[in-house]
C-alpha cells in the first residue's frame, strides 16, 4: 500500500519537527473554524486555543502512530479537549451563522428549510448538536466522529438516523 498523504506528513514531522508546518498549514483553517464556534465567536480566544491545539499535537507527534484516519481527526479530538479544559465544562457547540453552500440548484424555499432545520437542531442536546456539526458542517465520516467523541460508530449512526427521523416528522407536521 502506498502511504496516505497525512501518514507521510506525520512521518516527516516525526523525523524533523519543523516539517510539522506542512500539517499545520493543511489543517489550521479547519481547526480554527472548529474552535471559533466553540468560544463564542471570539477570534483572539480561538487563535489562542488553536495554537494550543497544534502545540500539544506537535509535542506528541513522536509517539503518534498512523491509524488510517486523516490527522485532522486527531486534531479535532485535541481541539475538543483544549476547549473543554479552557472552559472547565462540557463542550458547547454554537450552531449559528449557518449558511447554504454556493449551489444554484438550492431554491429560496430550500434555503429557508435549511435554516429552520438548524434551528430545530439547536434545540437538541448539546452532544447531538455536536455530532450534527461534525457530520454536516465539518463533513466528517461516522468513523471519524466516533473517534473524536469516543463513541461507537454504530451509536453515532443510530443517533443521527433517529434524529433525522425526528426532524422529518417535525417537518411533516
Amino acid at each position: 500500500m502506498q502511504p496516505h498523504e497525512d501518514q507521510l506528513l506525520i512521518e516527516s514531522a516525526q523525523q524533523n519537527p519543523t516539517a510539522f508546518s506542512q500539517l499545520y498549514y493543511k489543517y489550521v483553517d479547519r481547526i480554527f473554524q472548529f474552535i471559533y464556534y466553540r468560544v463564542g465567536n471570539h477570534t483572539e480566544t480561538a487563535e489562542e486555543l488553536t495554537q494550543e491545539t497544534f502545540t500539544r499535537s506537535l509535542k506528541n507527534i513522536s509517539t503518534f502512530t498512523w491509524q488510517g484516519f486523516p490527522y485532522s481527526t486527531y486534531l479535532y479530538s485535541v481541539a475538543r479537549s483544549v476547549c473543554q479544559e479552557h472552559y472547565k465544562k462540557p463542550i458547547v457547540t454554537d450552531i449559528d451563522e449557518i449558511i447554504v453552500k454556493d449551489d444554484l440548484s438550492v431554491t429560496a424555499d430550500r434555503r429557508a428549510d435549511i435554516q429552520l432545520l438548524w434551528q430545530e437542531i439547536a434545540k437538541l442536546p448539546k452532544n447531538v448538536q455536536e455530532i450534527f456539526e461534525l457530520r454536516y458542517l465539518q463533513d466528517l465520516s461516522y468513523d471519524e466522529i466516533a473517534l473524536i467523541m469516543k463513541k461507537k460508530p454504530g451509536a453515532i449512526r443510530t443517533l443521527v438516523s433517529r434524529t433525522l427521523d425526528k426532524l422529518q416528522q417535525q417537518y411533516a407536521e
Binding site: Q2, S77, I99, K151
Partner: protein, 487 residues
C-alpha cells in the same frame, strides 16, 4: 419533506460562514508552536532523559504511561506466596473510598488503598513511589543511567475503552482479569543496554551503489541534532533532515522518479523504476535488507500481502510483500524488527521501505536492573486501576490516538474480560541521551510484553510494561500495541 434522506441532503448543503485567519496570524502562531515544542524538547534533553521518544515512523505502536495518579495512591501489594502455575482469575473491584484487587485464588492477593482526595496531575509529572512488598529484593538503577523518563501519556484505559467504549459508562468492578499461567518472581539483573548500530558512510555508499544509484554523485548530509547521516541523490537538497522521497511525494504527489533515502540508523526508503535485472525483486530486496540489518537472508521471511491495492498503487507496483526477521537480530535478546514493505512490478523491485536497526553489544555495555514478571503484572493492574478515574479522562484522552484501531465493539454490560496469556521480556527501540555525550543514541530498552485477549470481542492485544527499575520509582510505562499482526 419527503423523507429523512431529503433532510440529510439539505443539511449537507449547509456550511458555516468562513472565519479566516490572516496569513500573518498563521505564521506567528506556527512560529510560537515550533518554538514551544522545541523548548520542551530541549528541557527534556537537559534533564538527561533516559528515553525520550520512540520512533513512531517505524510503526512502533508506542504508548507511554503516566505515573500521575500513583502520586496520590499509597499502594500495598501483599504477595503471600508465589503465583501458582495454574490460571487464576482476578476481579477488580472499586469504590470511591477503597479500591481492592482480589485474586480468586487465595494467594496472592493485592490490595490498594488510595489517598482519600485524589487530584488529577499533569500526565508528564513524576509520581511518588508506592510501597511495594515483594519477595524479591529492590534494585537501584546503575549510576551511569538517568531515569527521568518522559514518554507521552497513554493508558491501558484506552485499551479497555477500545474494547468497551471507553466512556464513563464503563463498570470496572465488572471486569475480569485472568492472570498469565506463569510469572517469574525473580529479578533479572545486568541486562545490557544496547545501542543501535549505525551504518558507516562506506556502508551507505556501498548500499547506494548496490541499489543502482551513483554514489559518486551523491551528497552526504549530517545533522548533529538527529545524529543521522542522510544521503541525497544528485543535487537533491533539502533544508530538513527528513526523507527527501517523502518530501518529493508531498510536493509532486508521485513516486514516479527514482529516489533513495538512507540514514545511518538503518532506515531506507527506495522508489525506483523496475530494471531488467536477472534477479527477481524479492531476492534483490532480501539482499539489501540483509546488507543493512546484518541478518542472513535465511533469517528473513517473506509474506505476500494480498490486500487489494488502489489503482494508483497498482500503477506503481503489482505485488506487495512484507519481510520480517524470523527471530531477534541480536544474539540472546528478543528484539525483533517491525519489518519491511516491498513492492515489485513485473517481478522487479520498485519500492522498499522500512527500518532494520541492528543492535550491537559494546565492549563495556551499560546495564539495567529489571523488575520481575510479577512486578510487571502488578504495574499492569495498577495502571488499570489508576486510569479508571473519570477526572483523568481529559488528560489521557488528549494524548491518545494510538489504540483507536481496536474500534468500539459493544460488550454487553461493559463486562470486560481480559485473559492474559503470557509475559515475556522484549526489547523495544527508545532513545537515550547519555550523560557523558551530547549525541542522542537510539537504544534498545527492555520491556515486558504482556499478551492477551479480550474474550468478549476475541481481540488480541499486546501491552508493553517498562521493565526497568527506576530511581524515581513507580513509573508505569504502558506501551500498548494494538496492531492486528500480533506475533
Amino acid at each position: 419533506m419527503q423523507n429523512k434522506y431529503f433532510i440529510e441532503q439539505l443539511l449537507s448543503a449547509s456550511q458555516r460562514k468562513k472565519q479566516q485567519l490572516s496569513a500573518q496570524s498563521k505564521d506567528q502562531m506556527l512560529e510560537h508552536i515550533l518554538y514551544t515544542a522545541s523548548s520542551v524538547s530541549q528541557q527534556k534533553q537537559k534533564k538527561q532523559t533516559v528515553f525520550a521518544e520512540f520512533m513512531a515512523a517505524w510503526k512502533w505502536m508506542v504508548v507511554g504511561g503516566t505515573a500521575a495518579i500513583t502520586a496520590l495512591l499509597i499502594i500495598v501489594f501483599n504477595w503471600n506466596n508465589q503465583f501458582s502455575t495454574t490460571t487464576q482469575t482476578a476481579e477488580l473491584a472499586t469504590s470511591n473510598k477503597n479500591e481492592t484487587v482480589k485474586i480468586s485464588n487465595p494467594t496472592p492477593s493485592v490490595t490498594e488503598t488510595p489517598t482519600p482526595t485524589p487530584t488529577a496531575i499533569p500526565a508528564s509529572t513524576s509520581a511518588a513511589s508506592p510501597t511495594v512488598s515483594s519477595p524479591a529484593p529492590q534494585h537501584t538503577t546503575p549510576s551511569t543511567q538517568t531515569n527521568t523518563a518522559s514518554i507521552s501519556v497513554i493508558s491501558i484505559r484506552d485499551l479497555i475503552g477500545g474494547f468497551g467504549g471507553g466512556g464513563p459508562e464503563l463498570v470496572p468492578s465488572e471486569w475480569k482479569i485472568i492472570q498469565p499461567p506463569t510469572m517469574a518472581a525473580s529479578y533479572k539483573t545486568n541486562i545490557p543496554l544496547l545501542p543501535i548500530g549505525h551504518l558507516t558512510e562506506k556502508q551507505m555508499r556501498d548500499l547506494t551503489s548496490a541499489l543502482g544509484f551513483d554514489s559518486t554523485s551523491t551528497t552526504f548530509y549530517t545533522s548533529e541534532d538527529y545524529a543521522a547521516s542522510t544521503k541525497y541523490i544528485t543535487n537533491q537538497y533539502s533544508e530538513y533532515n527528513s526523507d527527501p522521497c517523502i518530501n518529493r511525494y508531498i510536493e509532486e504527489r508521485s513516486f514516479s522518479f527514482p529516489c533513495i533515502y538512507i540514514n545511518n540508523l538503518g532506515f531506507v526508503h527506495i522508489e525506483k523504476k523496475g530494471e531488467n535485472k536477472t534477479t527477481d525483486g524479492i531476492t534483490e530486496a532480501l539482499s539489501y535488507i540483509s546488507t543493512i540489518s546484518h541478518l542472513h537472508t535465511n533469517q528473513l521471511e517473506v509474506h505476500n500481502v494480498t490486500e487489494q491495492a488502489s489503482e494508483y498503487e497498482t500503477s506503481i507496483y503489482d505485488t506487495y510483500y512484507m519481510i520480517y526477521s524470523k527471530q531477534g537480530n541480536v544474539p540472546n535478546l528478543p528484539f525483533k524488527t517491525i519489518g519491511w514493505s516491498v513492492g515489485t512490478k513485473n517481478g522487479q523491485l520498485v519500492s522498499l521501505f522500512g527500518a532494520a536497526p541492528t543492535a550491537y553489544q559494546p565492549s563495556s555495555p551499560k546495564t539495567f536492573d529489571l523488575i520481575s514478571e510479577i512486578d510487571a503484572y502488578n504495574r499492569l493492574l495498577k495502571d488499570i486501576e489508576r486510569n479508571i478515574k473519570p477526572y483523568e479522562w481529559n488528560n489521557v484522552y488528549a494524548f491518545s490516538g494510538n489504540v483507536w484501531e481496536l474500534g468500539y465493539p459493544d460488550i454487553p454490560n461493559n463486562q470486560i474480560s481480559i485473559h492474559i496469556t503470557s509475559i515475556s521480556l522484549q526489547y523495544e527501540i527508545g532513545t537515550q541521551k547519555e550523560v557523558e555525550e551530547q549525541n542522542r543514541t537510539y537504544q534498545l530498552l527492555p520491556v515486558y510484553t504482556i499478551r492477551g485477549i479480550e474474550t468478549n470481542t476475541k481481540k488480541p492485544f499486546k501491552i508493553y510494561i517498562d521493565a526497568t527499575t527506576s530511581n524515581s520509582n513507580a513509573k508505569i510505562y504502558s506501551i500498548v500495541d494494538s496492531s492486528a499482526n500480533l506475533q
